[in-house]
Amino acid sequence: MESEIIEISWWRLIAAYIFVVLLIVILKWRSIKREKDVLIATIRMSVQLIIAGYILEYIFKNEHPLITLGVLLLMVGFAIYTAIKRIKHKISIQMKKLIALSLTIGVLISMAYFIFVVIGLSPWYKPTYVIPIAGMIIGNAMTGITLGVNTYMNEMSSQKQLVEGALMLGATPKEATRRIANRAFDAAMTPIINNMIGMGIVFLPGMMTGQILGGASPLVSINYQIAIMLGILGAVALSVVLFAVLGYRTFFNERDQLIDMQ
């Protein structure tokens, strides 16, 4: 089963760019003005991956807990930035802080559990494991929280009357927004649950594909894939539940009044 990975030589790699040429020919032929986007995307992908390759090469050769931790925090920071940028609504500073807090805590707890308990990695900072796993967990947590926040914000404006109505009947802000929080949580969890349902039938997940190409037995790689899916599920659930449970506070003042009514 063990096989050497076939290296792609540089001229074969260049041959792969034929697909981009093909796409540009199609765009020209159909007069769809997207050539510039395609070119930029192709260049960005290539340059970014080359840089990432060199950085990872350096990190993998210089195993050090501080470097791994630094990269991890950098990834979380970038995820927070991207999540906030992707939110379609105007959000308060408190909301931004909450997003940062939820994402950081959710990711770090599930990462720690995954590394220490599930894989039992030794040393714990081995970057060849930590960084790819962090990439998958953080990426999914980020998407989850973006979905959760967008749903929460949509519901807060479309259901405002119901929130107000509940307050008028003596509800605490937490109780008045409970349904909204649950909907946001549900919206954030739906893609990952659907993803799990289709997994292995509709598509082979990227990590498993990578491991198989790298020569690992499919039976080993499914263990990793199952574990990582559960890790992702945990990270998304933790991040989003933190956000959903605490999110209401950013809409109310200390006198339990809706801030935007004042």
Binding site: A166, M168, L169, G170, A171, A176, R179, D256
Partner: protein, 219 residues
């Protein structure tokens, strides 16, 4: 019950002095945009005055917990808030929000009777008509032990005849339970029938504030 001193809210309200007494039916009238809804939201603690002080039974509202205030001073929106679920679940929600034991089916039927809503308890509440929803929210409020009920045009979706009949029942019920009622209305007839205290707002100012004699008991 309420005493307002030098109250302003942005440029919407300007009330130097006003008192609303307990156990009475106070009607608030005025054109749309005169500040009526803002006024009652102040009493229910949904918003803070820009300036001035509101006293609830001689206690400064600023020193009170707003959630507790809203459990004493319950408010009904003009367009009824119906939540997902059945008629019964919607009625129980009021008690749930106020952290009270659920009402018995018997009690629920009684209040539904007061508002003349004869529907099955397990019917989907979202399928009710506008007028039925309004009566449902009225019934929900009647099951709360609040001392004060604030109603924002409680019969706006009802035809005149049923509006009078239902308000008669609702207010009789409130009188029996010794509640204070503050009600915004556009109907002269309702004012004439039920008001004991009449407040008229115009462009955010009180232009009328007088005790009146209701006629409903005379009939």
């Amino acid at each position: 019950m309420f005493r307002l001193e030098n109250i302003t809210f942005k440029d919407v309200l300007d009330i130097p002095e006003l008192t609303i007494s307990s156990h009475k039916i106070t009607c608030i009238i005025g054109e749309s945009g005169s500040g009526k809804t803002t006024f009652i939201k102040l009493l229910n603690g949904l918003i803070n005055p820009t300036k001035g002080t509101i006293y609830v039974e001689d206690k400064d509202i600023r020193n009170m917990s707003m959630v507790n205030l809203r459990r004493r001073v319950s408010m009904l929106q003009q367009s009824p808030s119906i939540y997902e679920g059945t008629v019964k679940e919607n009625i129980q929600l009021g008690r749930f929000f106020s952290e009270l034991e659920p009402a018995s089916d018997q009690e629920i039927k009684q209040v539904l009777d007061v508002v003349h809503l004869h529907k099955e308890l397990d019917q989907d509440a979202s399928k009710l008509s506008g007028g039925e929803k309004q009566r449902l929210t009225l019934a929900r409020m009647l099951l709360l032990p609040a001392e004060v009920l604030i109603l924002d045009e409680p019969t706006s979706s009802l035809d005149q005849d049923s509006a009078h009949t239902i308000m008669k029942h609702v207010l009789k019920h409130c009188k029996q339970e010794n509640k204070t009622v503050i009600m915004i209305t556009h109907s002269d007839e309702i004012v004439k029938l039920f008001a004991e205290h009449l407040i008229q707002l115009k462009e955010g100012k009180v232009v009328r504030d007088e005790e009146v004699e209701p006629t409903w008991n005379q009939k």
